[in-house]
């Protein structure tokens, strides 16, 4: 029955509304602009018309935001692992220390929380989606979900377990709720077996999730 939509036995059959790999197509956005989309366009056009900014200036700013990635955070972490004096400066004033590495904090007020054998840190923003964007780029979608935001303060070990991180009972979990002006970066523990590694090799171990605190780096 090649035309039976419930028949999964035929390799060449595609369900309606799905791509050949079985993913649903995203619907076309044919609906009219929302109020706020119109306001954004009108204000942007006015700013350009009045010479307050230029289209090129706006594009450059977007490009600057898009260029921020977790690789910047990984550079900071690898240096902290490798340079105890830098680590002390980073813990005392995160924004100043990242600026020292040429990563512009702009308005970011960075607090760095260090994982130790006794304590594991993890970051959430229960009120919205505060995230150290100037350092790590845009947050992952799950970071902004109601489930992550509400469950991370209530049952962090269960949530970490779903990320594949099962912490021993004797390690204290410290959840950091970014409720006001500070933004948080977790400084993970340097994995065993990385003695003598250069910074570039260390950086490759430091994922975005390690710096949010839902994962820990592992050597090879």
């Amino acid at each position: 029955m090649p035309h039976d939509h419930h028949d999964h036995d035929h390799d060449h059959f595609h369900h309606e509304g799905t791509s050949p790999s079985g993913h649903p197509y995203r619907p076309d956005n044919d609906q009219p602009l929302t109020y706020w989309q119109r306001i954004e366009i009108e204000v942007r056009v006015l700013l350009v018309e009045k010479g307050i900014t230029t289209a090129a200036g706006i594009n450059a700013q977007i490009a600057r935001m898009d260029a921020r990635t977790p690789a910047q955070g990984a550079r900071v972490v690898a240096r902290a692992w490798d340079d105890p004096e830098f680590k002390a400066r980073l813990l005392a004033d995160g924004s100043k220390a990242m600026a020292e590495m040429g990563i512009e904090p702009d308005g970011l007020k960075l607090v760095v929380v260090e994982n130790t054998p006794e304590a594991h840190n993890v970051v959430v923003c229960t009120l919205c989606s505060c995230y150290p964007r100037n350092l790590l780029g845009l947050p992952p979608d799950w970071y902004k979900t109601r489930a992550y935001r509400s469950r991370m303060v209530r049952e962090p070990r269960a949530v970490l377990g779903e990320f594949g991180l099962d912490l021993p009972d004797d390690v204290q979990v410290r959840v950091h709720d970014s409720t006001a002006d500070m933004r948080y970066l977790v400084l993970p523990r340097r994995p065993a077996g990385t003695e003598g590694w250069d910074r570039e090799r260390l950086e490759a171990l430091v994922s975005r999730d390690c710096m949010i605190g839902v994962a820990v780096p592992e050597a090879g």
Partner: protein, 115 residues
């Protein structure tokens, strides 16, 4: 009966200026049970709970006013306050000695022994 976390005060000064904070790292404080008419940055789940000041962040403009295009000045001391899971969630805590740190402005805090 509050269940309080251990605090090791940070071995450095606040990186942002403050004109003087009422509370110091290690002090026991309670989040007031008030409400602001509109935007506020004090999470509801911490209202009425007692923790310890982990650090003074510095003075920052009041977000309850900034949200309505006022200048939020004078800037107010902002703290990181640490709470135990046992304090916040009681017997329903996943693990009593795990902690939650949140940033709370001074006008939302009172000494834990206040009536």
């Amino acid at each position: 009966m509050s269940v309080l976390p251990a605090i090791s005060p940070p071995p450095f000064d606040p990186p942002y200026p403050t004109k003087g904070a009422r509370f110091a790292p290690g002090d026991t404080v309670r989040v007031k049970k008030g409400a602001a008419p509109g935007h506020m940055r004090t999470p509801w789940y911490l209202r009425g709970h007692t923790g310890r000041v982990e650090r003074v962040c510095g003075d920052f403009a009041n977000p309850e006013e900034l949200a309505y295009r006022r200048d939020g000045l004078p800037a107010r001391p902002l703290y990181r306050v640490r709470f135990t899971m046992a304090e916040v969630w009681g017997n329903g805590a996943e693990r009593a000695r795990d902690t939650i740190d949140a940033e709370i402005f001074e006008h939302w805090l009172e000494p834990a022994d206040a009536p």
